[in-house]
């Protein structure tokens, strides 16, 4: 079994403002195999807080959380080895600056596996493998992580988690700050990892085009509540997504607009540009 949330709420407390509840009564189940899930929602909706629960970095204020058979409550339990959970569920943070610290990329990627009692040689091998997996060649191994470009840093930080070989991979906005081509390369990479190894991958993103094209299951957060959990197609068939502070993918928007302006009757639910084009051609020829 993977991760199960039972009525989980989490509140941040501060002296001046009192308690601020970031997520409220979340019920959710994520299986450990073959899932490819998008987590979307407006800024401040609680996506990141939800993600931090998934590898027990923070504990629920109320409710319980089950991660690979360990039950997480609001108190630290001495019997649970939290490090084991973090090995099983890898979480990549949004900004790579928070985790890069070694003088070479190789050493930095090795930091994760080495924390889980793996020999140096094995860790070196893992570092090389995972670096190649994120699309960087061996010449990067000896480079200083702080002299890389933003996109490269991001990939190195993802490689750092991949090297730990987690069963479930959670990524907080892995595509933010990347150019469009870089986004696709990275998304193809995640999809590929998901398909070849069967690892469950959860990705936080704001890009609805990516959500529509790549994901089959989508979770929508709105003001701390989980308001939607289901198939991507079902989400975008909804009439009004502004309630969720979301937008439609570009293909749907363009086709809807064409339908409206030219009085056509096209099927607007096309995932890629090519499919949309084919639909337009079909409609115009008629």
């Amino acid at each position: 079994m993977g991760i199960r949330f039972n009525e989980v709420s989490y509140g941040y407390s501060s002296f001046a403002q009192g308690l601020y509840t970031a997520i409220k009564d979340i019920n959710l189940e994520i299986t450990e195999k073959n899932e490819f899930i998008a987590l979307v929602g407006h800024t401040g909706s609680g996506k990141s807080t939800l993600a931090k629960h998934m590898n027990a970095l923070i504990f629920p204020t109320s409710g319980t959380l089950e991660i690979f058979g360990h039950t997480i409550t609001n108190k630290r339990n001495k019997k649970i080895k939290y490090n084991d959970i973090r090995k099983k569920v890898g979480l990549v943070f949004q900004f790579p600056e928070y985790q890069l610290f070694e003088e070479t990329v190789e050493k930095d990627i090795m930091f994760g596996p080495m924390n889980f009692k793996i020999t140096k040689e094995e860790a070196k091998k893992l570092a090389k493998q995972s670096l190649n997996l994120v699309g960087l060649d061996d010449s990067y191994l000896s480079r200083n992580p702080y002299n890389l470009s933003g996109g490269e840093k991001k990939r190195v930080s993802i490689a750092g988690i991949l090297a730990m070989d987690p069963d479930i991979l959670v990524l907080d906005e892995p595509t933010s700050g990347l150019d469009p081509a870089g986004k696709r390369i990275l998304m193809d990479l995640f999809k590929n990892i998901n398909e070849t190894t069967g690892k469950t991958i959860v990705i936080i993103t704001h890009d609805m085009d990516l959500v529509y094209q790549y994901f089959n299951r989508v979770l929508v957060m709105n003001d701390g509540h989980l308001v939607f959990d289901g198939k991507t197609e079902v989400l975008f068939q909804k009439e009004d997504l502004t309630d969720y502070h979301l937008d439609y993918p570009n293909t749907i928007k363009v086709l809807k607009y064409l339908n409206q302006e030219l009085n056509l009757n096209m099927n607007v639910f096309q995932k890629t540009n090519a499919e949309a084009l084919a639909e337009i051609k079909r409609a115009v020829r008629l």
Binding site: A16, R86, G90
Partner: protein, 321 residues
Amino acid sequence: MKSIIIGQYIPGKGLFYRLDPRTKIIAVLLIMISVFLLETIEQLLIGLATAIVLLLIGKISILKVIKGLKPIMILLIFTFIFQIILNREGETIVSQQMYFTGYTLLLLILAFIVWRILNKLVKYRFTLFFLFAAGVFLILSYVDFGPKIAEPFTFNIYRAGLEMSFFVVVRLLIIITLSTVLTLTTKPTDLTQGLEKLMHPMKKIGFDSESFALIISISLRYIPTIFDEANKIMLAQASRGADFSEGKLKDKLRQVISLLVPMFIIAFMRSEELANAMESRNFVPGEKRTRINELYFSHRDIIATIFSFLILALAIVLKVM
């Protein structure tokens, strides 16, 4: 960290919120000086009463201030105990024969264990600590049987010691309360602006009060930000398996480095960004600047200043007489 009230500003509406920061700084300084001039316990108690009345007038919840005193409590208790033990003047009030035998040692260890276990279960840890201390005292004074380990000694409390310890603690209490009132009711920006204006005359001797105030306000502003960043880094490294609670010393060292390096780099990045942002808004060091909110004295400030001067005068008169 969030429970520490000292140095925090909490928005509110009361008399002290409406005072000019310069007035508040001067008044706090004057009253502090007066507190140091006081010589007898009666005078100090009146001083404490005055401080409490000031809190009431300012509509500041006394409970909040007491809560904020908690971290300083340890300091207060230590001063109290050291004064009692080390000051040996005046007549003796308490004189207790103390013994140290094998049984004493045994009982002391037992008491310690009971204290540590109860500490985990009970909520009132402070009261428990006092009970433990009292228990130690009782054991030392009444368990006089068994094999002797050390020679019996007498534990004395002297009048001057008791008075002095009480005196020092009350004085500290007043000073901390006053400074808490100052920081509680004044925004950090106002506080630094007040400091800057007050130190302005020192420019004649080459002291750049504006830069000084800027340094203070930037450092104050960045304390919570840096805490936030540190927390994020800790989570990011924890999710890479850096477990800060267990592991060998060598591993721990590495894990600490994994926190420190990103911390420094982020701090440098932040400072560079801030410098760029300030420059792009035309900040030139040393130039004359205008403020959105100019400070001005009102009749309240005059009354408050006069009041604090009166207190100082009263303290001087008491001291001279």
